[in-house]
């Protein structure tokens, strides 16, 4: 019934709107025709009339009424707000439409607010109704002319406004309330209502809200908290109230309340007049100290507390009598943390550092005390520990980060003293565990010219020598960064001496740290590093090259000419470096080197590797048809003499094919159709990635090879195997992205057709090729073929002799396409149990156990129960490998629960 009446109202409203928009009638005539129903004493009649009129106002175009028409409508609908809840609801909808779409006269706004605040009771409104009301008032407060009208009410606006927003609990509504509140506080004189106004947001602080944001239109606790804090900080007269509120909440036992109070307190201290900091600093400190002692080691608390101390320092140094105030607070801090135990063990130094970090004034007052304490602890020897070294580093860091921190004479002397102690500690082998931190500290000290004198400079040199000779345990990057800072600070003479030392000792971090910022000595250092030939040296060259690309020419030539043999552990770094160099050198250099490589190409694995990397990364334009023929002939002749290099040779041929320009001579390419099966597959891959016209010819041969060669299935699947480093992404973008899809579309129907008529042995080969290919391609591509492949998959599941590699592909395909395949429990359970046992490879065992675990998602309990005993008995929960045991334990628990309560 309700929906029927609703439909009638809606249809009637639509009819009226159409009549108004076509010019057949106007709103005034509509209202006249509705006549007495708009003021009917019968609730339902008036409700329907209000809804109809409201719907009409909502649906007519914006601005189709004038101010003279809007004013009486506004007055009429406002009067309905104090009536029956159904009438209020309909009136609110109409009012919202009027404010949003029609020109409301300013005078009428004032009248609306006054009547609304005086006459309307909000008790029976739903959350949605309230939201609409808030949106109306939000519109009034954010529109400049409406706001002017409202401001004429002065502080008389405030009680009504508070009544409107009070006791709101819906998060989305609250966000609107907080937003309106801030506008009101900034635009209306608070007068006697100041305290009442403060009480409103204070009642919500701290926010207690943990529901997921998707339930409340994206409103999170963080957003509400930010909004309530903005409200609390929105007026100057709130300052004392805010501080007191925070101090009160800090004493609560609720962690969120404490953290939020600390943050608000910091904001309040920074926002309000600095005098508030002087007034309350002595009251704030005991609470902070107590909180810190109770929550040491908890990062959220520590960060909030130290930031608060820094904020206090900043504000105390801004008052007229700053020295007296800063000294007073410093004294309080120092009294609490002067004892060694408090300073070091209780991390009192962190308060000293935090306060010193507030301003240069604070630093000059408190940091000398901290420096004296730390230097005396270090000279004592027995108190050198992580905490005292951390304190030293932090003190220097604060001085270095302050504007003109080194300008203060006292602080300079303190830093010099500490630097001297730090250099001495660097030479003390019994303090090795602190060397990394000391290096960081000295790096910060270096900009202070006088801090490192000749004696300290000598100590640093000796430390570097010692680090080289004793194979220091300090991470190479820390040493390298320190050397870089020293060499740029001390100048060329220091760098030259160290460079000589680095060359003598072949020390990678030392040489890498000595590269000039402008790269003047980069070539010389790269040359030295390349002669070291280990992975760290190549990594260092790579970093230098990326910062100084003009070096690419030298590095490229040197990598190709001086490396006769590449150790296995260096191969990957060598390939990466050569790839970067190839992409960075000018075209003329590549052409020359390709010719040179062609001349040197032999069975030797180094030259083949170099050739493959250069081919992978050079643009196709450098390879003419004649060059390709020569290279292909050479590669083919090498292939005849060496079976061990067949993979890399095949990859090189694939790259040659990949770079071949269509339209140029392709006879050399056609000759390769007779190559071995791996090469044919790779060439097919290279051609397919460029969408070359010959790609299907090679795929045909690769397809035939599946049944004709033992390696046929694996080679065939190689075509879709992703090898991004060998076939890097450049050129032929669309073909490259779609090539796996094209391969599957081309090959799967052929494989299925052949499978139907194949012998048992051929079926194994064909199904292996299918499974291996499915293993390599993405889920989205594979799933298009899985339903068609069902007969093959069923056949494979019944074959215990299916090799492990294709089994992995088969299992992966089954797991991700179980619903489409519609396999029976009997078809899958035995193969899964077989694969979950040794001698299947570990990866297959884990996949199979996971497959057993997932069966509960695909079958009913009664279907699984007959197999429960067998599965639980067979699961390898006692396997030698932890990963197997973990998977088996999880599956075991799940299977145990089957059929239980």
């Amino acid at each position: 019934m309700v929906s029927d009446r609703g439909d009638i109202v809606e249809r009637e409203a639509q009819r009226l709107v159409m009549a108004i928009t076509s010019g057949a009638t106007n709103l005034l005539a509509v209202i006249e025709s509705m006549g007495s129903t708009l003021n009917s004493e019968e609730v339902v009649v008036r409700k329907e009339a209000l809804e109809t009129l409201g719907e009409v106002i909502r649906s007519i175009p914006s601005g189709s009424l004038n101010e003279g028409e809007v004013a009486p409508l506004l007055a009429y609908f406002t009067a309905q707000l104090k009536g029956h809840p159904d009438h209020s609801r309909a009136a609110i909808i109409a009012l919202k439409a009027l404010f949003e779409k029609q020109p409301v006269p300013k005078d009428a706004v004032g009248l609306f607010i006054e009547r609304f605040f005086n006459d309307t009771a909000l008790v029976d409104l739903t959350r949605d109704d309230k939201m609409k009301l808030y949106l109306i008032f939000h519109k009034i407060l954010t529109d400049a002319s409406f706001l002017e009208a409202a401001k004429k009410m002065h502080s008389a606006f405030l009680p009504g406004f508070l009544q409107l927003i009070e006791a709101e609990t819906d998060p989305q509504c609250l966000m609107l309330c907080f937003s309106m509140y801030q506008i009101v506080v900034r635009n209306f004189p608070l007068g006697v209502y100041a305290e009442d106004m403060f009480e409103y947001p204070a009642a919500y602080f701290p926010i207690d809200f943990n529901a997921p944001p998707e339930r409340h239109g994206g409103v999170t606790r963080g957003k509400l908290q930010e909004a309530v804090e903005e409200c609390l900080l929105s007026h100057k007269s709130f300052e004392e109230h805010v501080i007191k509120l925070c101090l009160e909440k800090l004493t609560s036992q609720h962690p969120d309340a404490q953290i939020d109070s600390l943050r608000l307190l910091k904001r309040a201290v920074l926002k309000y007049d600095a005098s508030i900091a002087t007034e309350y600093s002595q009251a704030i400190w005991p609470t902070l100290r107590m909180l810190y002692m109770g929550h040491r080691g908890e990062p959220l608390y520590e960060e909030a507390i130290f930031r608060m101390v820094t904020a206090l320092g900043q504000r105390l140094s801004e008052v007229p009598d700053w020295r007296g105030e800063v000294e007073k607070f410093s004294k309080t801090l120092w009294t609490d943390f002067e004892a060694v135990e408090s300073f070091v063990e209780h991390s009192g130094w962190r308060f000293i550092v935090a306060f010193g970090g507030g301003s240069t004034r604070c630093a000059t007052v408190i940091l000398p005390k901290g420096f004296n304490k730390v230097t005396s602890l270090i000279s004592d020897g027995q108190n050198i520990n992580d905490s005292s070294i951390d304190a030293a580093c932090a003190l220097v860091h604060v001085v270095a980060s302050l504007k003109d921190g080194f300008g203060d004479e006292t602080l300079r002397k303190c830093v010099e003293m500490l630097a001297s102690q730090g250099c001495a500690l660097l030479l003390d082998q019994s303090r090795r565990e602190h060397h990394v931190k000391l290096l960081g500290m000295l790096t910060m000290v270096l900009p202070l010219d006088t801090a490192i004198r000749d004696a300290e400079k000598e100590s640093i040199k000796r430390f570097i020598e010692n680090s080289i000779l004793s194979s220091s345990s300090i991470p190479a990057h820390a040493l390298k960064n320190f050397i870089a800072a020293c060499s740029s600070h001390f100048g060329k003479s220091f760098g030259a001496d160290l460079c000589k030392l680095g060359k003598e000792c072949r020390c990678v971090w030392l040489l890498a740290g000595l590269v000039d910022k402008n790269g003047q000595n980069a070539e010389e250092i790269c040359h030295e590093l390349l002669s070291i030939r280990d992975s760290s040296a190549l990594e260092a060259v790579q970093e230098i090259l990326l910062n100084h690309l003009p070096l690419a020419d030298t590095v490229f030539n040197e990598l190709l000419t001086t490396f006769e043999e590449i150790p296995d552990d260096v191969t990957q770094h060598y390939q990466d470096l050569l790839a970067i160099a190839t992409r960075s050198v000018p075209s003329s250099v590549i052409s020359t080197q390709i010719d040179s490589l062609c001349g040197r190409l032999s069975i030797d694995s180094t030259s083949l590797l170099q050739f493959r990397v250069v081919l992978s990364n050079c643009p196709p334009a450098y390879l003419t048809a004649s060059t390709c023929r020569i290279l292909a002939d050479k590669l083919s002749s090498i292939a005849k003499t060496s079976a061990s290099s067949s993979l890399i040779l095949s990859q090189c041929l694939a790259l040659l094919a990949n770079k071949h320009q269509e339209g140029s001579d392709a006879s050399w390419l056609r000759e390769l159709l007779e190559s071995d099966c791996l090469s044919v597959s790779y060439i097919a891959k290279g051609l397919l990635m460029r969408n070359h016209e010959l790609c299907e010819n090679f795929m045909e041969v690769a397809f035939r090879n599946i049944c004709d060669h033992n390696e046929g299935p694996v080679s065939f699947a190689t075509i879709v195997k992703p090898e991004p480093k060998i076939f890097p992404r450049e050129g032929g973008c669309t073909a490259r992205i779609l090539y796996t899809q094209r391969f599957m579309t081309w090959s799967m129907p052929r494989l299925l057709e052949r499978f139907d008529t194949a012998s048992e042995t051929e079926k194994i080969a064909l199904s292996s090729a299918i499974c291996l290919a499915l293993h390599e391609v993405s889920l989205e591509i594979a799933e298009k073929f899985t339903s068609k492949l069902r007969p093959v998959i069923l056949w494979c599941l019944s074959q215990p002799s299916l090799p492990a590699e294709p089994s992995k592909g088969l299992l992966k395909c089954i797991r991700r396409n179980f619903p489409q395949l519609q396999l029976s429990i009997h078809a899958v359970i035995q193969p899964l149990l077989r694969w979950s046992q040794r001698p299947s490879p570990m990866e297959l065992r884990i996949e199979a156990i996971s497959g057993l675990h997932e069966l509960k998602d695909h079958f009913e309990t009664h279907q699984l129960l007959p197999h429960k005993k067998q599965v639980l008995k067979s699961l390898p929960i006692g396997d030698r490998k932890r990963l197997i045991r973990r998977a088996a334990a999880c599956t075991s628990v799940t299977w145990h629960m089957l059929g239980e309560a």
Partner: protein, 164 residues
Amino acid sequence: MVLNLGFGSFQLENAAPQVFATVKDRPVTAAELDDAIEDPIDAREVFDLIRDINDPEHPLTLEQLKVVAEELVTVDPATRVIKVMFTPTIPHCSMATLIGLCIRVKLMRSLPREFKIDLMITPGKHDQERAINKQLQDKERVAAALENPNLLSVVNKCIAEPEY
């Protein structure tokens, strides 16, 4: 004889338990990926089996409530004995026996049978420590408890595996 599991009270005994940080997942090492190298069962592995058990009262895991901890697990590979201690959140916790039962069932179902599991309350952490330990060590009482469908349902809810 059946286990006394402290049912009958529907009010939370510890309405606002302290929630602790959890340890990071165990990283997979190169040795663990090598099928030829044996990985012996250690305390961390046993802890990983029980850390995700749900508390019967709160939507929190036993690890989050610090009822179980890695340092409370010991494994003796020579004797094949695994000793697990657990710490109820409050000394008079009536759920202690149920929690112990969950731990025992989870370990029984996840570990090879040749391991003996010694399960007990951390000494001094429960008012009825001796009585509960005795119940949890009694195989017959454990088996009898698991015959009760309602109890088994509660245990299964607590030990249900998170998806891996």
